[in-house]
Symmetry: C2
Subunit: 339 residues, 2 copies
């Protein structure tokens, strides 16, 4: 049998455990051009909120009763496609389930068995690292000496953003929640200043950390954190809109201070980013990210839950801030055998 | 004597007549390197609100008791600078007054006596036309077939934006206030659709006018009009933040629907524009704008008040929407002699 996590009901706002159900389905068999994958690690992303929302955004909503969409890394058990062979590791949108039969075209890439741990294919060498890389460099356009502020600074995306900004000679200021993450930001991810938004007078601490204003704001939260940051933009600032983790519901659209005047007076640029627009350039970014990991310039942290039963509550936990690092669900040993 | 309009008190929000006073000052005399100008036309801009606000934005606030800052076009009466001679027409920030003594370096440019009417140096061949040109082309980056929505579509900036977008092969949709301006948008400024925001179901009319979404939003108003437009952005949309005419006060910052999600889902770009960042490129733009005027592709309309006594209420009138076209105050005949 194949255990799956299905979407049971459509959440309003952040998906909760009760919106999912764990079921047993028949073991799938690959047809021509298809591959059977034994999933090993499943990914948990803030973006999953959008994937299950009733309103189509950049992808179709996961249907009720459908397997939850997710990235996974796993091992090929059987292949009916000439490009893939049993034993190889692959990553792609394989879903929250033990086994997936997928068309070869939907496999994102092979994951080398002798490189970084295969779990990194879902984080720093997956869409999180790729997002940080392209969004910071393309939209943020960091220059040496500039001040870069990152929200969810210790998160899977934010931690890479801060380090890549440091590599480019910027000063980095991280905004995060709680003392453990503040410490992580400074000790592991190289932020010059880390601010705990839960306890801080954010306006005052940002002003102290950014005396010349904020040149780049890499925004993963939206909401009150952004309201504070936008007040302190420098002339010509770039604001990367990557996520809205702090806003619990967009239906109806919540109110906040109008941004037009900040944008106008500072001649700032605010731009949204979606990693799926950049697929063609993944190889160049993965090569660079891999080199930075190998040289010790790019660290990552993983928050690994054990077993498929952890999946239903895992997104809500992410929004509660339970995790330290990239949240994954481990459902098999790295060789694909049962836990 | 030299009649001047001084800032009497600092307005909160939109400057009203009572915030100004008309006074008589001694006739100024030019020193070395200076020029005495007889102002002929004075300009009235929405941006003047910011120039008299207590909060410094991109320029220092006009001091209480100071002559109101404004662009003007006038004629040189006396020159103690070798580059300027009596009888020449010039434009620059000469202020709301009959006569100005200015350092030659503050003169923006000479205005040819045999070209377009000298009043155009304050509008379509002044900062309004230049703003439309650079902001639409640099930030908006219009491409043939794209849908461009303009707020204050019949105004001094908006009317040029719509026509320049048409010249670049776009479909243009204007948002304006009242039936006279709706008619102007269609008949004079070439908008394919013009919408009266005062009477329309803006959401429905925008949806009907922009069935493929909005590729470029040239925003002169902010506020509720922008709230409606942002809901209908196309993927990859560009939003030019040029002004916030619909927002009566920014102290405190008013609330509106949060924009992050629209920006993110549509991978849109929102960017602020200030003409004074582009001074070095004025000549190229003035040449192009002049050619479009000469060929009849770029029309303009002027709303001319007569006499300096009209100045104090003129900004408030602009925000009330009293004007049809670029608002000017004529204080002398075109040859510089008294009215």
């Amino acid at each position: 049998m194949n255990r799956q996590v299905q979407l049971k009901s459509r959440p309003s706002g952040i998906p909760q455990a009760e919106n999912f159900q764990v079921v047993e389905a028949p073991m799938p068999e690959p047809g021509d051009g298809q591959v059977l994958v034994r999933n090993i690690y499943l990914s948990v992303e803030p973006a999953m909120r959008g994937w299950v929302g009733a309103v189509a955004n950049y992808s179709e909503p996961v249907p009720i009763g459908g397997v939850m969409r997710s990235f996974a890394v796993g091992r090929v058990l059987a292949s009916k496609h000439p490009d893939y062979a049993a034993g190889e590791y692959v990553t792609g949108l394989f879903g929250w389930q033990d086994h997936a039969v997928v068309d070869a075209a939907t496999i994102q890439r092979k994951v080398p068995a002798d490189g970084a741990p295969i779990s990194t294919a879902l984080g720093v060498l997956g869409i999180n690292g790729l997002t940080a890389y392209f969004a910071l460099l393309d939209i943020g356009q960091p220059k040496p000496g500039e001040t870069v502020v990152v929200s969810t600074a210790a998160g899977a995306v934010g931690s890479s953003v801060g380090q890549i900004a440091n590599i480019h000679g910027c000063r980095t200021v991280g905004i995060t929640g709680g003392p453990d993450k503040v410490k992580l930001c400074r000790d592991a991810f190289g932020y010059e200043v880390a601010i705990d938004y839960r306890t801080a007078d954010l306006d005052a601490q940002l002003a102290a950390a950014c005396p010349k204003g904020i040149d780049i704001y890499y925004d993963n939260t939206g909401g009150a954190i952004s309201d504070a940051v936008l007040k302190q933009l420098a002339v010509g600032a770039r604001v990367v809109i990557c996520g809205t983790a702090s806003v619990s519901s967009w239906d109806p659209v919540p109110l906040g201070p109008r941004v037009e005047r900040y944008i106008l007076v500072k001649r700032a640029r605010m731009q949204g980013f979606l990693i799926f627009d950049h697929v063609a350039r993944y190889p160049e970014a993965l090569k660079q990210l891999g080199e930075w990991i190998a040289s010790g310039q790019l660290c990552y942290l993983e928050d690994v839950l054990e077993g498929l039963d952890q999946a239903p509550d895992s997104i809500a936990g992410l929004y509660r801030g339970d995790n330290l690092g990239k949240r994954l669900i481990r459902i098999a040993k790295d060789d694909g055998s049962a836990l």
